[in-house]
Amino acid sequence: DQQVKQNSPSLSVQEGRISILNCDYTNSMFDYFLWYKKYPAEGPTFLISISSIKDKNEDGRFTVFLNKSAKHLSLHIVPSQPGDSAVYFCAASPPTPLVFGKGTRLSVIA
């Protein structure tokens, strides 16, 4: 039973446009959410997070939006760059260990 779902396995976006990656969750006890980025042959690196007391968190080109009533969050990347091409994982807490989604592979086309 997947508690964190990333329903789009892949996404292609043109360079300079907006990338929107989505994540849905089922457990209403989750109160902290993170996005990780992973390149091939490397470990995931932290990208951005959001607490359930907020509905938006921004860091440079990256913004995460949280809609608690819909149990949905999204990661916006504007403008998208070729270096953003990677697999993006959504994760939720509590508990520890984190609960991860299956990931979305983003391809940014020059």
Binding site: P9, A41, G43, F46, F89, P97, K102
Partner: protein
């Protein structure tokens, strides 16, 4: 910065071999985790440990065991490697029970191929 080091980036092992994957962190973190990453399946938790000599099963512990004799080191053991254990293995660590803003610190991963 916390560093999580996985001893091998790439490994090729034969079916039936006993395989040891090593992970070391340098910041006195209590919690350590082993995941495997497979296309379309995401990150799946194999085992984790909250302290020395303590271990907990994750979602997919079958075929694996772990050892945590020292706080800084968490080893994943494949008792008898099989081809379906070909995967990217990721180690992570976490200081305490409270999750920091950035979550876990991950190692660079070990790409294991079982032939």
């Amino acid at each position: 910065d916390v560093k999580v080091t996985q001893s091998s980036r790439y490994l090729v092992k034969r079916t039936g071999e006993k395989v040891f994957l090593e992970c070391v962190q340098d910041m006195d973190h209590e919690n350590m985790f082993w995941y495997r990453q497979d296309p379309g399946l995401g990150l799946r938790l194999i085992y984790f440990s909250y302290d020395v000599k303590m271990k907990e099963k994750g979602d997919i512990p079958e075929g694996y065991s772990v050892s945590r004799e020292k706080k800084e080191r968490f080893s994943l053991i494949l008792e008898s490697a099989s081809t379906n254990q070909t995967s990217m293995y990721l180690c992570a660590s976490l200081l305490g029970s409270a999750l920091p803003d950035y979550g876990y610190t991950f190692g660079s991963g070990t790409r294991l191929t079982v032939v």
